[in-house]
């Protein structure tokens, strides 16, 4: 009798516990996949000398499964805004130019280009033999249509097409002859090339939403929402053809279940491992380490108490032990940054700023006392709850700030409310996210111009605004670099925010595979991946 009773309780307890576990699965959304603010599109810069196995043992053929942790927001490359979509579509679409693994822009659909001295005229020569996946050759009309679509110049533009602000500077697109296209700009801009990575699509093709067709090394096969996105090798590709015959991008709802599948061995590549997961990997996988190319920072609202006082912002910057944060959340593998640009953007990154805010509790306390917060300061850090990496960072920062007498509270919010309250309405004190950027240096700093619509930290420095105008207007390279370094110095010296790190990107790759290549932009290039001969 007693035994029977007990089994009843145990059964009940088991059900209750599993009910907690099951109910939990729903809410735990994707992690670490796009540690990105809704910044711009898919590019950024960084040198990544990744060792590739020699080509001689590469074999053609085979298929692999790549796990991604975010569903695609649109199959139309001009409508997709999520970085997690662009990284996949990179395999299907190409622009006039495309980024390579060194962060340079190389010609793709165009074989050559010329930029006029004043930066007002771009002339592209189309490459011979570039075909869409249906076999049609790419014509000047297709290119004109594609660029006009992204620039919002079509007579009837689909309202959901994302118009790049830099491209809205394009006044007209002219077809000079069958193989030559000319872009005329309103104002001179020598950095526009980075925005011409936008996909070239067939003119007036109306199935972009369902059957993507581009010129890339892989052809679209099928897409099942929340399940998978499948591509096969494009045999007619104009450049180096892909090694693999087929790649399946498997979409999983969260990193934990993705990791379970990884443990079970049903996945070949998984790009968003956490540091702890990396240490638990079975030995059939290698862990490749790159950078996420993000600026992770404790962003401070310069327009609200208490961070409208520069001394308080500096105090917070001094109070952060960045190495301590890196060791705790990233296994020491991230890269400390001192300004709003990732250090891998070597040409422009201002290395002189290193050590501006070395960990210094005394100095932080002194600054706080000067600002009138000697008796203590309390503020709230708003963190998007779906990014565990930022949530963890926030917890460490809360502990570190205690040492200087600051009481920070964490408020977790959903991604959508973060976008609404923090990013759009700027109703917050401090937040932690990662900002991405494309290959144009202006993209990293443009948002801090006092009038920028996405200046969510309310940074306001007239000198900065003036220098930014000079920087984008300049057509002399050295001068431009100097201006950009000056802009970063303003941000750091004003302690616009407390900059932390460029987080590491850990990728699990099946040991049978080689060729996984890190890009300084947010893409998964499967054309370079191959099986090693046994």
């Amino acid at each position: 009798m007693k035994v029977k009773h007990f089994s009843k309780y145990l059964f009940m307890v088991a059900i209750l516990v599993s009910a907690i576990a099951l109910s939990g699965c729903k809410g735990d959304k994707s992690d670490k996949n796009t540690n990105k603010a809704p910044a711009t599109d898919d590019t950024s810069s960084k040198e990544q000398d990744h060792n590739q196995a020699s080509d001689k043992d590469a074999i053609y053929g085979g298929s692999i499964v790549v796990e991604i942790t975010q569903d695609l927001d649109s199959l139309d490359p001009h409508k997709a805004v999520a970085a997690g979509t662009n990284e996949v579509l990179f395999n299907v679409y190409e622009g006039l130019v495309k980024p390579n693994e060194n962060g340079d822009l190389v010609s793709a659909v165009a074989s050559e280009y010329q930029i006029s001295e004043d930066g007002k005229m771009y002339t592209f020569t189309l490459r011979d033999g570039v075909k869409f996946h249906n076999g049609d050759a790419v014509t000047a009309e297709d290119v004109k249509y594609s660029i006009e679509r992204c620039a919002g110049l079509l007579e009837e533009t689909d309202p959901s097409v994302k118009v790049e602000s830099a491209l809205s500077n394009v006044k007209e697109v002219n077809i000079l002859d069958d193989k030559t296209i000319q872009l005329v700009l309103d104002k001179g801009d020598t950095e526009l090339l980075a925005y011409l990575t936008s996909a070239i699509v067939p003119a007036n093709y109306d199935k972009l939403d369902t059957e993507p067709m581009g010129t890339g090394p892989f052809k679209f096969v099928s897409y099942a929402p929340l399940e998978s996105f499948v591509v096969v090798k494009n045999e007619d590709y104009w450049g180096d053809k892909a090694y693999l015959d087929q790649v399946t991008f498997k979409i999983s709802a969260n990193t934990d279940s993705a990791f379970m599948e990884l443990m079970a061995g049903s996945i070949d590549i998984f790009p968003y491992l956490t540091d702890d997961q990396a240490t638990q990997l079975p030995d059939t996988y290698n862990v490749e380490v790159g950078n996420m190319n993000l600026v992770q920072a404790l962003f401070l609202n310069n327009g609200a108490e208490p961070f409208n006082d520069m001394k308080v912002r500096q105090a917070v910057s001094y109070a952060l032990d960045r190495q301590g944060i890196l060791d705790m959340v990233a296994g020491g593998r991230g890269t400390i940054i001192d300004t709003n640009m990732f250090s891998a953007f070597k040409k422009y990154y201002n290395t002189d700023l290193a050590g501006t805010y070395n960990y210094n509790v005394e100095k932080a306390k002194a600054l706080l006392a000067e600002a009138g917060y000697g008796g203590g300061l309390t503020f709230t850090i708003t963190v998007p709850s779906n990014y565990q990496f930022h949530v963890d960072t926030a917890q460490i920062i809360v502990e570190q700030l205690k040492a200087v007498g600051i009481t920070a509270k964490i408020q977790l919010v959903e991604w959508n409310s973060w976008l609404e309250d923090v990013y759009k309405n700027r109703n917050y004190q401090a937040t932690i996210v990662g900002l991405d950027s494309n290959l144009a240096p202006r993209d990293s700093v443009e948002r801090f111009v006092s009038t920028a619509s996405n200046n969510f930290i309310n940074y306001n420095n007239p000198d900065f605004d003036a220098t930014f105008e000079k920087a984008i207007a300049s057509t002399v390279d050295e001068e431009k670099v100097e201006y950009y370094k000056q802009l970063q110095a303003y941000l750091t010296n004003d302690a616009a925010s407390a900059y932390i790190q460029d987080p590491p990107l850990l990728v699990a790759v099946n040991k049978k595979l080689a060729g996984y290549t890190f890009y300084p932009v947010y893409v998964q290039d499967m054309a370079k991946v191959y099986y090693i001969s046994e």
Binding site: M1, K2, H5, Y9, M12, V13, L16, V17, A19, I20, S23, G24, K26, G27, D28, T255, D256, M263, T274, D276, Q277, T279, Q280, G324, D327, M328, S385, Q388, V391, D392, A394, Q395, I396, V398, E399, K409, I410, Q411, L412, V413
Partner: protein, 260 residues
């Protein structure tokens, strides 16, 4: 009779353990529950750290003490809201009946017809995330079940002779409701409260697990479980400690309630 006592004793022991941890935790924890130490991340249970340490090198035993306290606080507050409001609603509707009864009970049915997790989520999305909002949300969700139980008791009790006597003696309605009838349904109310408490513990854990309840770095049992799931393979003790605490609490109260 013997078996009953055994179950009761067992339940009392389990709850005693939990209560001891909660009460001691108010005044003393072996370590600061939020203090981090990078050199002892994810270490297994040892003499220095009885339940091991988590991914920030925090002492899990200290965090379980703090987390249990948070969870208990939320559960007790939730049940208090449910009991007080539920009893008032149930008493008036059950005793008076009529239009008031119909209206309130239909509202009650309306609330009950939503799955409780869904309803909690809706309320949280209105009030926002946080410890006190979760109490409010769960409290509202708990009201209907109390109201219904209390109402049916009052409907039975109001026909009893002692109520009629009290009326004849000129006692006021309020006096009859709360001085005469309420003590007579206390045993039923008590078991509803204990079941409600168990549900509240689980609901708090579930909500914090979803990231909607207690905010980091503060500990609650559900919050700890949620953080621990990423380390199920490398540091299983992290999930076991808060998990076992929940099981002990719920099991203990169930045993007491069943055999009381």
């Amino acid at each position: 009779m013997r078996k009953k006592n055994l179950n009761f004793i067992l339940g009392a022991i389990l709850i005693g353990i939990v209560l001891l941890l909660v009460l001691v935790g108010i005044f003393y924890t072996p370590y600061d529950p939020n203090a981090m130490n990078g050199s002892i991340k994810n270490t297994a249970p040892s003499f220095a750290h009885w339940f091991g340490t988590d991914n920030f090198g925090r002492d899990i035993f200290s965090r379980v003490m703090e987390g249990s306290r948070t969870t208990f606080f939320v559960a007790i507050a939730t049940v208090a809201i449910g009991t007080i409001v539920g009893t008032l609603v149930g008493a008036f509707t059950g005793y008076y009946g009529g239009a008031l009864d119909s209206v309130l009970m239909r509202i009650n049915d309306g609330i009950t017809s939503f799955p409780s997790i869904l309803l909690t989520l809706v309320i949280i999305s209105i009030f926002g995330i946080g410890k006190y909002n979760i109490i409010l949300a769960l409290g509202i969700v708990f009201i209907p079940s109390f109201a219904r139980v209390v109402r049916s008791e009052y409907m039975v009790q109001k026909e009893m002779d002692y109520v009629k006597m009290a009326k004849l003696m000129g006692a006021s309605d309020i006096r009859i409701l709360f001085i005469h009838i309420l003590p007579n349904i206390s045993s039923m109310l008590f078991s509803t409260i204990t079941i409600g408490f168990n549900n509240a513990v689980l609901a708090e854990a579930g909500m914090s697990y979803l990231g909607l309840g207690v905010q980091p770095p503060d500990a609650s049992l559900g919050r700890m479980l949620s953080e621990a799931q990423a380390y199920l393979f490398s540091a299983p003790w992290y999930a076991i400690a808060p998990g076992v605490m929940i099981v002990i609490t719920v099991l203990g109260i169930s045993l007491i309630n069943e055999e009381r």
